[in-house]
Symmetry: C2
Subunit: 472 residues, 2 copies
């Protein structure tokens, strides 16, 4: 089945050929089999070592930028003589937590479903898309470039804490300002357009996650003997959450939409020109309706969002029993757009919870606190970062578009993506434009179980990275 490597030499422009694909996939499976969740620092360190070794094979020396309390950044450079500019490639090698029970295959035992020649085949593993894929694509692109001299300096910056909120990123950037200077940061993260067209995106939403815990009786009570008398934290949580957002998708937290920086004419035009995917997406996802009815998805993601990402209180289903729960917990994800500060937003959430009659604490409340307040809420946050948007009209923006279109043909251009990458932190710390060059399929289950990458996205991603590395 394996073709001799020599056969591939004639096929460089239609890259990658079958044998190359096989080699790439084998190497990628090795990378994906190393666990990369925040709860496993040793696993993250193994990932970092793997990346260093893989770049060393391509003649690129990488090293660790270490900071206490966080996985190391893997960093390296390719210097060009008389370089026109310096381009920094950003990605991250850590992944979201996994709940193996919910996966069809083990999250760190990569499985290819389909054949290597099928562009629709998918490789399943945690971080197969988010965001080891761009790192693998860069490695394969370096192979394709075969040591051809570059006309720009290239730097690589691979973070290990993105899925945990990039809490140390600002510190790392500020401690290494000289080292990390460049003309543009290319953020290699996130999915391509839902139409499967390549997209170049000039911003990303900011992010702040919030967890709210409400308290009922100090132990679960029999719902018969105490139902109507003991307050129910699950009911209170329902009221609190309902007070935060209406069913049409409008957030009711005071000030939530204040300060939004309006879209420019170019940005509005780019949104209007993006292929319309709402109806196809709605069918694919079996949605009878959407939030913010009448709003195109590319438009909706230019507003801040408040999403309940999880609810827990006692049990449902076969494990449900007749109790009044002792606690009820909601995990909330907030997405922000340019002009809205994540710290201010968190303060507004706190003020909202207080306005609903809660005494707010940030640690588990003691008995005296619970007894002396009718309603107590624990509200915590792991921090967050702000949204950032680069102008599409900058020369470097146009250059990146041209390089992408040179590699893959016409691309979709959008002012922001819905997801968050720490481009705001990067722009703030280094005063540098950031542009997103995602490569993964949109239907990749990233952040959920059965994460995967569609093979054609990986092959296209390699071409794109080759084009961006060789940008003149």
């Amino acid at each position: 089945m394996r073709l001799p490597l020599a056969l591939c030499l004639f096929a460089v422009t239609a890259l990658p050929c079958f044998a190359q694909k096989e080699t790439i996939l084998r190497e990628y499976e090795e990378f994906l089999s190393i666990p990369n969740v925040a709860a496993d620092p040793a696993g993250l360190a193994r990932n970092a070592r793997w990346i260093i070794a893989a770049f060393a094979k391509r003649g690129v020396t990488m090293r660790l930028l270490e900071t206490p309390g966080t996985p190391a950044v893997v960093y390296g450079e390719i210097k060009a003589p008389n370089a026109r500019r310096t381009v920094v490639f950003y990605s991250h090698y850590d992944g979201q937590p996994v709940d193996p029970k919910q996966w069809n295959t083990a999250p760190f035992d990569p499985v290819l479903k389909g054949t290597l020649t099928d562009p629709e085949a998918r490789l399943f593993a945690r971080s197969a898309s988010d965001s080891k894929a761009p790192i693998m694509a860069i490695l394969a692109a370096l192979d394709q470039l075969k040591g051809k001299p570059l006309t720009q300096n290239v730097k690589f910056f691979f973070e290990g804490e993105e899925e945990a909120g990039s809490r140390h990123l600002q510190t790392i950037l500020e401690a290494n300002k000289q080292l990390l200077a460049g003309d543009v940061w290319l953020i290699c993260d996130g999915p391509v357009h839902q139409s499967r067209k390549q997209q170049i995106v000039f911003g990303a939403r900011g992010n702040r996650s919030v967890e709210i815990t409400l308290y009922g009786p100090s132990r679960e009570l029999h719902s018969g003997h105490y139902g109507n008398w003991a307050p129910n934290p699950a009911l209170r949580l329902a009221h609190l959450l309902a007070s935060m957002k209406n069913e049409d998708g409008k957030v009711l937290v005071k000030g939530f939409y204040d300060g939004i920086e309006p879209l420019s004419a170019t940005e509005k035009r780019a949104i209007a020109e993006a292929p319309s995917i709402d109806q196809d997406l709605r069918k694919e996802l079996l949605l009878g309706e959407t939030e913010n009815p009448g709003m195109k998805i590319e438009e909706a993601i230019n507003l801040p969002a408040l999403t309940i990402r999880g609810l827990t209180s006692a049990h449902t289903g076969a494990l449900a029993s007749n109790v009044i729960p002792a606690t009820a917990v909601a995990s909330i994800d907030i997405r922000l757009v340019k002009g809205v500060d994540h710290k201010l937003t968190f303060d507004r959430i706190l003020a909202h919870v207080k306005s609903q009659g809660y005494f707010v604490v940030d640690k588990d409340p003691d008995a005296a606190t619970l007894l002396s307040h009718p309603k107590v809420a624990k509200v915590t946050s792991n921090g967050g970062y702000n949204a950032e948007r680069t102008s599409m009209d900058l020369p470097i923006s146009q250059k990146v578009i041209a390089a992408a279109e040179g590699a893959l043909g016409p691309v979709v251009k959008l002012p922001t993506m819905g997801g968050s990458v720490p481009n705001g932190t990067i722009a703030d710390a280094l005063h540098v434009p950031t542009i997103l060059v995602p490569i993964c399929n949109h239907d990749n289950n990233q952040h959920s179980s059965n994460e995967n990458i569609r093979l054609q996205n990986l092959w296209d991603g390699i071409k794109l990275m080759q084009g961006l590395l060789a940008m003149n």
Copy 2:
């Protein structure tokens, strides 16, 4: 440490003595070590066999009343010559589901915390209170009676499906009307008064459990890329639940309180005379306030209640990830009072869900159903039963009170308990008065993890059962 049995013969009135307690506890631990959850029919059958063997040791022949699709009832009789009446003792040997992760000790490996001589010591195991305790108390009471002839016929009826909603009870009762006839059914289930005083209770609330599942996207979506566009089932659930009950405890489902049979003067007086426990309970349970403020708990349980007993949607805490959940589930427990039918109440819940814009199904909806309705809810129920209340003024009611007070001194008398026992089903099928004679402590964690019985409750329960068996 063990006293010879002979030493106990002098101590019959102050029963049980230390050696007897030790023997009772050893036998009870054996009983509690047999798993008794609905998901384990073989375990339930072992429990039934254990009960038969234990009664056989006391010279009482028990047998199984078998009905397809449900654990057998364990049934037996003690016949008295020239019996004044026939009294039927009801209990159940099945227990609520267990989640061993939430228990401090294994649920079916009984552990005594404290010493046998300490009345406050507790024995921990699933069903230690609910409701193997009365069965054990009857066994020990038979030992104490030492074969003394009874003046009434006694029948025993131990169900195996109570915690699963007694779905076959009506069928069983109607198939065995002659066999199960009696002048009163004594329902040996539930806790004594929260003041730790013995209580005799003349009714119980009815019960209906309901599970509601709401649907978002057909797979979990990235909350960044789709937040503001894909509908969130957890948010919808919050709105739906908030529409069902306000934070003061008032249920907003239309007709929920219709038809309630008013309390009689005797019943109102009994409630007023019950020791006031609200403040002590509030402190014990660390509650800053209670639902239905200003209402005594004994009064609040004379109203129907709607309790959210569990919520599930994606994850919270360390497993939370940035997704829009695919489903959100609420498990709801409804308690009913006399005059309110459980089927009618379920219909009212369905009508309420529909009134909130949902297309309601009773099975997992298919793609066409999801796509053709803006909002879809699956609403299911395992059935239920109605509340029942026996008049306190009946001669048999007064006789039972006298027997209990003869055994234990003054007792609390209440028109209803908050929990549910299938006394309504029994009264409907057999046209017989039902009276509740609970023995367990109120703080027994029944239906939750770490269920336990306080030893003094077991010893008092044995005295009470002895008094009721020997009632003249």
